[in-house]
């Protein structure tokens, strides 16, 4: 082959023998992809098994319980799915931000404050309006509050160039305390001694899917992540955000309204985090207690990176992660392993998935895909 072809000139004349070759390539390609996705999983399990054996635990039984509970038992699978709702929204929030080169690490507070305001208002709203209206308004409240909590970092970043890693982390620390203040002083349920908000009755929460315990929050999560994926991949708005993220100087040179886009990104990202908080309250928890902070962001961040910000891959990773956390609690209890072991499994998995991602990237670079 020669050094360069102005691509159109010769592309029509690929000989047919090459096509057959391509087909063989494609099969090989698919096999490799399979190997690359299953390989690290097995390697991770082997490493984690080794640790289990050292602890005197039968790894086969342990992992058997995880799968049995997280995937195969009906209520386990339902719990896995329900758990995915807020996590997918957090993932969508992170994808929007990271794609645009904005390090919104303030998701936890945006989530929490969204949750707190929804928990405070929903039980009151439901007294004056039909449940469906309350649900819609509550979701909007969550998103709005999340977005509001990012205004300062957004403006500082957009107009002053202040690094948003610092500001969003600060706002997270602040927001967690602020959420506590709100719950303890302002939104306290007068009927209990425990510092917590009023509780939204089970029948007023997001409807369950069919005859299961799966909250429809998972549908909100799926919709959000697919919409985000579509916006990022197919629309000019998404492309603009990606350009700002990939090379901000080029974005300025190209005349993109970088500051406005930055603010929009913050609003969307933080809004989705707030929406996640709303979904968690409306779909699962029903109220917020003081000192409550599930800190989803930290675990979702690596997942969206591993998925390379791809919506579909993210759904797969979030499903897997949700299954793992549901299943491993059960396995740990049955096998008498302290639950801390789940953290170790997670760590090993993330590292090996990271290695896979790197190998896959190298392979694709070599091929120029």
């Amino acid at each position: 082959m020669t050094a360069s072809v102005s691509s159109t000139a010769k592309s029509g004349e690929i000989p047919t023998t090459k096509r057959a070759e391509d087909r063989g390539e494609a099969t090989k390609e698919r096999l490799l992809t399979l190997l690359l996705s299953v390989g690290p999983l097995i390697a991770a399990l082997l490493i984690a098994s080794l640790i289990l054996v050292l602890m005197g635990v039968d790894p086969l039984a342990y992992y058997g319980y995880i799968v049995k509970r997280g995937l195969l038992s009906p209520t386990g699978l339902q719990a896995t799915l329900t758990g995915m709702g807020p996590m997918l929204l957090i993932a969508a929030s992170l994808i929007v931000a990271f794609r645009a080169g904005i390090w919104n690490l303030g998701g936890d507070a945006q989530f929490l404050l969204g949750a707190v305001f929804v928990a405070a208002s929903a039980p009151l709203l439901v007294q004056i309006m039909p449940v469906w209206a309350m649900l819609i308004i509550s979701l909007a409240i969550g998103a709005t509050i999340g977005a509001i909590w990012s205004i300062v970092p957004a403006l500082l970043r957009a107009y002053q160039g202040v690094n948003e890693i610092i500001t969003t982390m600060m706002m997270t620390f602040l927001g967690i305390s602020f959420a506590n203040v709100l719950v303890k002083l302002l939104f306290l349920d007068p009927a209990t001694t425990v510092p917590q908000t009023r509780t939204l009755a089970v029948e007023d929460r997001l409807p369950r899917l069919f005859d299961t315990t799966v909250s429809s929050g998972v549908l909100i999560g799926l919709a959000a992540i697919l919409i985000v994926h579509f916006i990022m991949a197919r629309t000019s708005f998404g492309l603009k955000l990606r350009i700002v993220g990939a090379n901000a100087r080029a974005a300025i040179h190209a005349g993109l309204p970088v500051s406005a886009l930055t603010v929009a990104v913050f609003a969307m990202s933080a809004g989705l985090s707030g929406l996640s908080g709303a979904t968690a309250i409306l779909g699962q928890y029903g109220n917020v207690r003081a000192d409550w902070n599930p800190a989803y962001s930290l675990t979702i961040v690596p997942l969206v990176f591993l998925a390379r910000f791809n919506g579909f891959a993210t759904i797969a990773y979030v499903f897997f992660f949700s299954m793992l956390s549901i299943g491993s609690e059960s396995a740990a209890r049955r096998m008498g392993v302290p639950n801390y072991f789940t953290l170790v499994t997670m760590a090993v998995l993330l590292i090996l998935l990271g290695i896979t991602e790197m190998l896959d990237k190298r392979r694709r670079d070599r091929k120029g895909i």
């Binding site: 050094a3 072809v5 102005s6 000139a9 629309t235 080029a250 300025i252 895909i369």
Partner: protein
């Protein structure tokens, strides 16, 4: 002539996805010679350099150093065997001073003697007749100044094998000449020099031996005795034949002093600049007055780093204007955003093609539309039309001869010249009222230079106002109706492009004439 080459390439091949950048290339580099490497954009010159400097490893073939086979495993290794390189794209750390850039490799615990190194640096710079400010932070310098600093740094390393990849691209002809003389002096001391350029006159003037690459293959060489015996005229013809694979008829004529028609049927003023002032810590711009009419090309001459970048960015809207006005078609635009100015028909072709001109990780097809994102027909109500985007890319790739494995290839992977073609393709299509070009042809090969200048001329002829910043006087003389000279942030004079222009500009630049 010494018989043993310092470095030999023996059948070296380097492949990148979709491309064979170097195809079984065999070349010997002898001490005491300036070896000129020529080839059109994307021919594989820089790839050869990256293998010689340890940045890339050949896929096939061997490299011999002093007659023995040796793999150049790393840049450190290359330096340690005496190979010093000035790369095509800056290899200075922007946040460090020039002195510290010279200092990168000392013993880690030692305290660098900065004043001493600065002194050495200034001295070396003087020896080649350029001026550097050793204590300046690199990012505050223009690309031209950075290039000079890199040459100085390479010389300070005392290499016995010096590679200069388009080192004259950003220099004024005068500085290029000084560098040429320096190369001659170095080889007379027994060094070997590889000199990559797109300017054939330089090649003929300073080279001892010439090798030509085309589509990754070495397609010909001119030995020293041939070079002497043939004479400049014949050599140039031969080179053009080798480079482009056909005889000189299709090749551009050497930059003829073809003056454009003076002020023939020019329209009204399109771009008007009044008492413009721009803040900058290094080179503030002040008192700029310019009027460019429809169909007119105004060139801005001057040594790089005299406020050209600041002025261009202020006009484009990338830098705030402190004082003064800019009118486009009679409308003040100095407070408008980059995007709004663009919508009114102002185009800016940057010279920083990697830093802001392209998004390296994005495909060629998107980079070609970087400034039209969201516009019909490529996007309809915000939704992209992949087929139209691809069709546009395919058309431009052919029209502007952008050498890329595919329109989906990340733009950053193209050769320097081809990235430049991409920028030009993007800016020269579509409608515009006024276009600002910063060094439009730097890094382009002969043919592409000719084609690009033709397009710039055509743009003006179709009624646009054109402002061209260039360090190459020849280019300005070939293109412009009038030429302004910029020095230390001011326009020190404007001359009509007539027979005496060259001399008067020279005087203004050296500060003789006021």
């Amino acid at each position: 002539m010494p018989s043993q080459p310092i470095v030999s390439l023996k059948g070296v091949t380097k492949r990148f996805p979709g491309i064979v950048a170097n195809d079984t290339v065999s070349i010997d580099f002898f001490p005491g010679e300036v070896h000129v490497l020529l080839g059109e954009n994307g021919a594989g010159k820089s790839t050869l350099v990256s293998m010689l400097s340890g940045l890339q490893q050949p896929d096939d073939g061997e490299i011999h150093i002093d007659g023995a086979r040796k793999a150049i495993q790393s840049p450190h290794h290359a330096l340690s065997v005496g190979i010093g390189t000035v790369f095509q794209h800056s290899m200075l750390v922007p946040s460090l001073t020039l002195v510290d850039n010279v200092n990168l490799g000392g013993r880690w615990w030692q305290n660098p003697d900065r004043p001493a190194i600065a002194a050495r640096m200034s001295e070396t710079a003087r020896s080649i007749g350029v001026d550097v400010t050793p204590m300046a932070v690199t990012s505050s310098l223009s690309l031209g100044e950075q290039q000079q600093a890199e040459i100085v740094r390479a010389l300070m390393r005392g290499s016995r094998f010096l590679i200069l990849d388009e080192a004259t691209a950003m220099l004024t002809p005068k500085d290029a000449e000084k560098l040429g003389l320096l190369m001659r002096r170095l080889v007379s001391q027994g060094l070997a020099v590889i000199f990559i350029t797109h300017k054939l006159n330089e090649a003929v003037a300073y080279g001892d031996r010439i090798s030509v690459l085309r589509l990754g293959k070495k397609v010909g060489a001119i030995a020293p005795d041939q070079l002497k015996s043939l004479g400049p005229e014949r050599v140039t013809q031969e080179i053009v034949r080798l480079m482009f694979g056909h005889s000189e008829d299709a090749a551009p004529s050497a930059p003829a002093e073809a003056m454009p028609q003076q002020n023939a049927d020019l329209g009204g003023a399109v771009l008007e600049i009044l008492a413009l002032e721009v803040d900058d810590s290094a080179v503030p711009v002040s008192g700029v007055e310019l009027k460019i009419r429809a169909g007119e090309i105004v060139g801005v001459a001057g040594i790089d780093g005299n406020g050209q970048k600041q002025l261009a960015e202020a006009l484009a809207g990338q830098r705030p204007v402190r004082n003064g006005r800019i009118y486009l078609d009679g409308l003040p635009i100095e407070d408008m955003s980059v995007g709004d100015r663009r919508k009114r028909g102002l185009r800016y072709v940057t010279d920083d093609r990697l830093g802001e001109g392209t998004v390296g990780a994005f495909p060629v097809s998107i980079n070609l539309l970087l400034k039209q994102i969201g516009d019909a027909p490529f996007w309809r109500s915000g939704l992209e039309s992949p087929a139209l985007i691809a069709a546009n890319a395919r058309r431009q790739v052919v029209e502007f001869d952008i050498r890329t494995p595919s329109i989906e290839t990340p733009a950053g992977k193209l050769s320097g010249g081809n990235i430049q073609k991409l920028l030009l393709a993007r800016e020269l299509t579509g409608s515009a009222r006024a276009v600002i070009f910063a060094k439009p042809t730097y890094g382009l090969d002969l043919q592409n230079i000719a084609a690009s200048r033709r397009r710039i001329r055509e743009a003006a002829d179709s009624g646009k106002a054109v402002l061209v910043f260039s360090t190459e006087l020849d280019e300005l003389i070939e293109l412009s109706n009038r030429i302004a000279v910029m020095s230390q942030g001011r326009i020190v004079g404007i001359v009509d492009n007539d027979q005496s222009a060259r001399q008067r500009i020279g005087e203004m630049m050296s500060g003789v004439a006021k």
